[in-house]
Symmetry: C2
Subunit: 367 residues, 2 copies
């Protein structure tokens, strides 16, 4: 059954300009950012990850006060717990960091934080007081969960990194998939983190979009390394219905990213990005810095425990102005970041995509 | 100075359909394959790598007898020599393979093969008896070398994997860059293999094309994971002037790839690809098999010595029908391979790209 026949607006109506601002957890995707994007005809997103259900709800209320346009909320799926020995070992390996930043690593910091990220409470809230779009990262919800949201009139999106994950999302009843290429900044939304690999063998976006399009019938939101309108035109030519950009919006004044994080995106000190488990225990792409180089090689697959283990260290690094100890999440296109206001950036991207089309149509008619 | 003003045809004239068949060394890009592609309005390529200068010239003559259309020849750039201790260690680590396949690893097999791949002799031949296009892999030729080819009326292309390498190619005077994304099958054409990395942090094609376009003025041939016409339309929307496909042509009847290699592309036994130095000593993407899993983790940066060290083992594996011991080079889109005749594949890709445009123009006019 199509979304329209269930009374849910289609993706094209929820996001008229085909541009989605990626949910960036950890304080980046603030209501101010989401509101500016939605007001400009993009689809703004709140990131519920790491927040309490109440904290998420507070932001939804703030965002509703800022815009009457559609927006989305992203949820992290519950994760399996890591074993204590693994965590103890990594905590030990971080001892030098603790000394350096004069910040104790709370012995059981991760125990106070649920590995389910308050998922059920958040979902219950979103069913009770629906928002236009809900997307999921790190797994696929059950059919019942997706049905409950559909009944509430919500458009659901599952983040996928392989054709198999897209298949799972379609079977579960998602309305769309967010197809995340290996180029993407921050966490890879892989449904299961395989400790046997370092996560670096994922598919490039263009290859992945085509493979997903040939596997499922669902609308595709393409994500990963997109910074320019011509790239949006490109993924749409490949069959995507919309493009999702994270790092591009990270540099906007409305983004809640730390100023040092914003500056690092174009700092020639940081020449490349890599996937690492060093900060969170799950592969995520960031600018290569000292912390990553030092701890990446042995960081365990233990998310979100490692995230909570390192959060104090990262904050301490930010306080003393040391970007080498912060998680500088960034996609492969980080050098092309622009610090335009978010609404203006949506307009610029849209008009760049348009120019790319016009240029192509012209080349085609003269060839 | 533009290529036209030097009397060299532009890329669009050398390759009317904007589709290049990637040079695949090791016997895949036979004259039959290159000829069929060029005859269909694509740009066929011969791969001079691992051949003697005479062997290369023999193929050029064969190809000239097959087609009057433009074609290209790809050269490998000379590589630094690996140290003997590194090679001795890896040879020792391959002892079990030698026993298993009952094939001795020639004690000094790699000494009989130059690390410069006969580069100067090949270049001299190509200056003497010019071909329409020459492309380079694993480095950037000197300005003098590129000038000599330009004087001979040859269009030159340098393979690049970063914006910095594209900059070097422009400074040296190349006529175009072949921009190779991390999705590509076979060797990454990185100018210098950094032993400190496993090569997996390279850029996805779409991210790379944009970054190169914003760094240099040269025409861009986009390569990496491209299997469908819609992907060709996509890279052209992103600013590429042509698309280069390897794995897509590997499955064609005219390709010289081993039949087991062709079959493996769509065999569900081989679910993913990875970059490995196991077979050649330089990061190359292939279907993950036993040999890669076993030797990849410690294979040294020692190209082409390791290539010559393992060639006997790989041939023995092929002889006994064991795909787990062969180098199954493949790009990330391998599952989408089609065993169409090469000329027909050029037509199909071209018409798919055309459909993607038409669909986009339609969506655009109704939005």
């Amino acid at each position: 059954m199509s979304v329209e026949s269930r009374g849910i607006p289609a993706l094209g109506e929820l996001c008229r300009r085909g541009i989605v601002a990626a949910p960036m957890a950890g304080g980046v995707s603030r209501p101010e950012l989401a509101g500016a994007v939605s007001d400009a005809g993009g689809l703004g997103f709140l990131a519920a990850g790491y927040k309490t259900a109440d904290g998420m709800y507070e932001e939804i209320k703030q965002l509703r006060a800022l815009t009457a346009k559609p927006f989305g909320v992203n949820l992290f799926m519950p994760q399996p717990s890591a074993d204590q020995a693994t965590l103890d070992l990594y905590r030990q390996q971080l001892t030098s960091e603790s000394a350096w930043y004069e910040t104790p690593i709370d012995e059981r910091s991760e125990e106070r934080h649920p590995t389910d990220d308050g998922y059920e409470a958040k979902l219950a809230l979103l069913v009770d007081d629906p928002v236009p779009v809900v997307s999921f990262t790190f797994g696929c919800p059950s059919r019942d969960e997706l049905d409950a949201l559909a009944l509430a009139g919500t458009f659901t999106v599952v983040t996928v990194t392989t054709p198999e994950e897209a298949q799972a999302a379609e079977w579960a009843g998602a309305d769309a998939v967010c197809v995340q290429g290996i180029e993407a900044g921050g966490h890879q939304g892989t449904h299961r983190d395989d400790p046997q690999t370092d996560g670096s063998s994922g598919l490039g976006l263009l290859s992945l979009v085509t493979q997903v399009r040939e596997t499922v019938q669902l609308p595709v939101i393409a994500a990963g390394g997109l910074m320019r309108g011509a790239q949006i035109a490109a993924v749409r030519a490949a069959g995507a219905d919309a493009a999702q950009l994270g790092t591009a919006f990270l540099a906007c004044p409305e983004s809640g990213a730390h100023v040092m994080h914003k500056q690092a995106l174009k700092n020639p000190l940081f020449v490349r990005t890599e996937l690492t488990r060093a900060f969170s225990g799950r592969p995520a792409r960031g600018l290569v810095n000292r912390f990553m180089r030092e701890h990446g090689p042995y960081a365990p697959s233990a998310y979100p425990e490692v995230h909570y283990m390192t959060v104090g260290l990262r904050k301490a690094a930010a306080r003393v102005g040391d970007a080498q100890g912060m998680a500088l999440w960034a996609g492969q296109g980080h050098r092309l970041a622009r610090d335009l206001p978010a609404g203006r950036l949506v307009q610029v991207l849209h008009s760049e995509a348009d120019s790319a089309w016009t240029e192509m149509a012209l080349r085609r008619s003269t060839s």
